[in-house]
């Protein structure tokens, strides 16, 4: 659904953008400023960006910003679990850029020859956080509560990055979680917490920010937490390498970092 909405936005913006060049006198100013500030902007074409589910909101905004800066470019983001996306890409799913929520899935593409190792850039960090529904009906206070059998406890499935991180954190704290469900990706888990259908789950700090008032976050003490590293890279067999590389550079740049930080991501260490 998100994807459809994003696509619609992209299409509408593209249409508006094209129309305004000719019709609206006001917008010709913006076009010319872009033209003068980036004189050699000849970027053109469509790219598909396969991105981790936790990047959904931030990348929708960033894709739009990139399109505004490069009127000839259309960015189509596709969101899902990093593990599913990396498998899909290796199976031939069309994509020009891959942004992963962990290094393992990017490494999988490097090993599979889909990505040049030197092209990989880490653009943000994220940290797991405990999420509870608004009002905290289960009276959750910390990691220990994941072991409480009477609570409805959800995690991401063990092969999805958010599920891996959650298990690492709980493992190291010596806690055996009383899991009631393993959701397919972080957004599916978040939706059940938002709907008060789970008492507690472990998502990313950024998801808690994105969920707004529907979800409360409980920080995990830094010494017990892990850092999730987000790498991005253009795919070797992209048909539009210039645009793909430009998008990757844009995401790894300072302008995008400001936006990403608004969504709760951390500057890479």
């Amino acid at each position: 659904m998100k994807r459809i909405v994003a696509l619609t936005i992209v299409v509408v913006l593209a249409a508006v953008g094209c129309g305004s060049d000719d019709d609206e006198p006001g917008s010709s100013g913006t076009t010319s400023t872009t033209g003068t500030s980036a004189p050699a902007d000849e970027l053109e074409g469509d790219i598909q960006v396969a991105a981790a589910a936790s990047l959904t909101e931030a990348f929708e905004e960033l894709a739009q910003m990139f399109e505004d800066e490069h009127p000839g470019v259309t960015v189509t983001p596709e969101f899902g679990p990093s593990s599913g996306l990396s498998d899909g890409i290796l199976e031939g799913q069309p994509a020009d850029v891959f942004a992963s929520a962990d290094e393992a899935n990017m490494q999988k593409l490097v090993d599979g020859g889909a990505v040049e190792e030197s092209a990989v850039q880490v653009f943000v960090n994220n940290r797991p956080e405990i999420a509870v529904p608004a009002g905290n009906p289960g009276e959750v206070e910390g990691l220990d509560d994941f072991a409480r059998d009477e609570l409805l406890v959800g995690l991401c499935a063990k092969d999805v990055p958010c599920g891996k991180f959650a298990r690492t954190v709980l493992d190291e704290a010596g806690i055996e979680p009383a899991i009631d469900t393993n959701e397919v990706d972080v957004k599916a888990l978040l939706a059940k917490i938002e709907g008060d259908d789970l008492d507690v789950g472990m998502v990313y700090h950024t998801d808690v920010v994105a969920a707004g008032d529907a979800v409360e976050g409980i920080e995990i003490p830094e010494e017990e937490n892990v850092i999730a590293v987000y790498p991005i890279a253009p795919l070797s067999d992209s048909e539009n390498t210039d645009v793909a590389q430009a998008f990757v550079d844009f995401i790894a740049g300072p302008e995008a970092l400001t936006v990403l930080e608004e969504y709760g991501f951390l500057e890479p260490a």
Binding site: L152, G154, D159, I179, D180, N182, V184, G195, D197
Partner: protein, 259 residues
């Protein structure tokens, strides 16, 4: 009869289109590892769970679906077409929508679910019973539609004759109506079973996903696709084999009823 050339060609294309993905799957199947893959505890758990929940879903569907089909075919009720529409809606609805709707109705903050939890301590999501509910919701319409069609095509005069001979309504239903549509009830049950076995969307959004409790074969396949493709293929093969056998059995039965 010999097929006209265009019919033959188009039919062949149609068959190829449907059969090709299965050929792809077979070609990727790790035949030698198959036994050990299927012996994995997680796989066995999923197979067992799928079997028990789908059989339970068929039983529930028959219990409620046959009477519903009778009401639709024979009963006097206002707004019959609306009722039929509602009853068959799960057939065309994306199962994920059905699962979300079930959650809004039977989840612990749901329309009915909040009372179930508060007064009876019953929580369907995240339980095996929840899986059965999700499967029944999605699969029951297949039984209802089949049985209703059969009831409409049987001669109502047998039932009228039974009534004139002094049989009560319940007796007529049991001794005359049911036996006359028994083959269709069986066909509907098989179709319903095949659908319940393959159920994914409603199950994962309503009942969640936990090994041994709610993780049926389709859920296990979906998750295995992300890390253990061979296991996913092995489980898919089992599901396909069972479903194909069921459907072949069904077709024979179906045509006998129709002609």
């Amino acid at each position: 009869m010999k097929a006209p050339l265009p019919v033959w060609v188009l039919a062949a294309c149609g068959l190829l289109f449907v059969a090709l993905p299965f050929a792809g799957l077979l070609q990727r199947t790790p035949w030698t590892d198959l036994p050990s893959l299927l012996a994995e505890p997680a796989v066995r758990e999923a197979l067992k769970l799928s079997l028990t929940t789908s059989v339970a879903a068929v039983a529930l569907s028959m219990l409620f679906g046959v009477p519903l089909a009778w009401m639709l075919a024979r009963g006097r009720m206002p707004g019959r077409s609306v009722v039929r529409g509602v009853v068959t809606l799960p057939m065309v609805l994306p199962p994920v929508v059905g699962g979300a709707a079930l959650l809004f109705a039977l989840g612990r903050r749901g329309l009915i679910g909040q009372y179930l939890e508060r007064n009876f301590d019953i929580l369907l999501p995240y339980s095996t019973a929840g899986v059965v509910v999700a499967q029944t919701f999605v699969a029951m319409p297949f039984l209802i539609v089949t049985v209703e069609a059969a009831l409409r095509s049987t001669d109502i005069r047998y039932e009228q004759a039974a009534a004139t001979l002094g049989a009560g309504r319940w007796m007529t239903f049991r001794r005359v109506t049911l036996p006359s549509v028994a083959p269709s009830v069986a066909a509907g049950a098989v179709l319903c079973w095949a659908r319940a076995l393959g159920e994914f969307g409603a199950t994962i959004s309503f009942a969640g996903n936990l090994e041994g409790r709610t993780q049926t074969v389709p859920l296990a396949i979906y998750l295995a696709l992300q890390h253990d493709r061979d296991a996913a293929i092995a489980m898919s093969l089992v599901l396909i084999t069972v479903s194909l056998l069921l459907l072949i059995a069904l077709r024979d039965r179906w045509y006998r009823v129709q002609t």
